[in-house]
């Protein structure tokens, strides 16, 4: 065996080794969450709110408040973010904006995507305190919306860029306005990509703890108004992970989060495939 094949074989072993490390560590994480989550998950866990612990007795109850809180925070946030994002993404195309300016906005969106989510958290917190509000569903929702806008916009933008120019020209030549072309033709053609972007944003928003840590606060009760503070699945995990009794709930919450992420990912694949039938190649 000469030097060249030896080198090839050494690197092949290294490559297989690294794939094993990657898959192994990730399988370990899934295994840990599924095993611990499945054993600690029961009906009580998802139908009850935490009962305040009397001195000397273990905290009981479930994590219903976190489940409801997560839904209340992330669904409206994803909705708002998607509405804003679609406007920006359509506007970034060359029909509306000069490519130079559009690229500058794209760069800003990339940086906004890249900055740690805790910055959104404290940014909203600053504004919240200066106008005299306290941590609530509303502020958490706004923080999540800000976090999701760059993610969803950049995904939509990539999808909309791919729309063939001929399609737009066809719409223009029939006399439609720029806005009609963008909303009726381009939006429809890029729909699978737009949907994938929205679902990616939802997945990111529902799992983010840092941005809602201070803005949504924490509460053991289900929020009754938009100005109540609320727990969410990620903040629940963050608050409970360090005590043995809390870990059970933390793992149940992690398990639910993981299931949601899986569902969102599968849904994104299925819906994308389904709506691909309607587009013009």
């Amino acid at each position: 065996m000469n030097k060249r094949t030896l080198e090839e074989n050494v690197f092949k072993v290294l490559m297989v080794g690294s794939v094993c490390i990657v898959l192994g560590s990730l399988a370990l994480i899934f295994g840990l969450v599924i095993w611990n989550g499945a054993t600690s998950l029961n009906i009580e866990m998802i139908t009850q709110t935490p009962t305040p612990a009397a001195p000397g007795s273990p905290p009981g109850g479930g994590i219903l408040n976190a489940i409801v809180g997560s839904i209340l925070l992330s669904l409206p946030a994803t909705g708002f973010a998607s509405l804003i994002a679609i406007g920006i993404a359509l506007y970034l195309q060359s029909d509306f904006l000069q490519p130079r300016i559009a690229n500058a906005v794209r760069f800003m969106l990339d940086v906004l995507w890249g900055i740690p989510s805790i910055i959104y958290g404290i940014f909203c917190l600053m504004i919240m305190i200066s106008i005299g509000m306290s941590s609530s569903v509303l502020v958490g929702m706004i923080a999540l919306t800000m976090l999701e806008i760059p993610i969803i916009t950049r995904c939509m933008d990539e999808a909309i860029k791919m729309v063939p120019i001929g399609l737009k020209e066809g719409a223009y030549s029939l006399g439609s306005t720029k806005f009609e072309t963008a909303v009726r033709v381009v939006r429809r053609q890029a729909f699978p990509g737009i949907l994938a972007g929205i679902l990616l944003g939802l997945g990111r928003g529902i799992g983010d703890a840092a941005s809602i840590l201070f803005t949504a606060g924490f509460s053991n009760r289900i929020p009754t108004s938009i100005l109540d503070s609320t727990a969410a699945l990620p903040t629940m995990i963050y608050n409970l992970y360090s005590t043995p009794l809390g870990q059970q709930k933390a793992f149940a919450a992690a398990f639910i989060l993981l299931i949601i992420v899986l569902i969102v990912s599968v849904l994104s694949r299925l819906l994308t495939r389904r709506f691909k039938r309607h587009i013009i190649k």
Partner: protein, 297 residues
Amino acid sequence: MKTRKLRDIFGTKLMLVVTLFVSLLFFLIFSLLLYRSLLVLESHSIIDVLFSSIWNPDVGQFGLAAVIVDTILVTGFALLIAIPISLLSAIYIVEYAPLRLRRSIRPFIDVLAGVPSVVYGLCAFIFLVPLVQHQIAPWFGVQSTGLCIFTASVILSIMVFPIIISLCIEAFDAIPLALKEASLSVGATKWETVKKVVFRASAPSVTAAILLGFGRAFGETIAVNMVIGGTVRIPSSIFNPGETLASLIASKYGELMSIPLHESALMLVALILFVVVFIFYLLGLFILRRAKRRWSY
């Protein structure tokens, strides 16, 4: 006709407004962070804050040197683990793996990129912390509680695997087949082709992937906060507890926000995070643009 025209004008203006709003958000976040951190910069020079290692808010000392050292250690170590492993995995998946494995691995990696960081943190706390405490640290002959810089780096590297791998797979896939075939046809082995053609042709995109991985590792707050131990002191080894810039905000904000000067110090930390991410993205953009001019195929 008139309503259509009106709708066009109104719709376009609305889109302009949201675009302006997001661009404004960028400057708004920056300027508000700057404005809020001025308070601490008035009483302490920036040199003093960046290079003094004494963090003692109660007596008004806000030295960030220890936190900065920890951040560099955690991020650097995480990337040191993640980059070679991710690159080798991506090459294996694209060039060597059987087609069936290749097809099934992609969705799996996409799912992993979406797993919330708090879940990684929880797993690290349950599994990695005891492992480091009882096995790895004694193996190096040091005492450690397991809550340390090393643990944080390991979990961060696992978190950035899916990001770097999926971007690298895209980059390697985008290389024209003819380029590889030319190399193979003059007698290069597969690995030589990978080394001399694939790596070079994809260098700009791979750099961008690594920068993105860096951004994630650098700014990760929650997972790091859960396993790093939370001590602001210059570490003597990587098995010491520490605190990174991002995790400092998460762990100290609750107790410090009531006092303006303390809050201002944390705003300065956030400002540093923002500026560093901005500089790195600018760098990435610059590298990509130059590389595209040079390697245009």
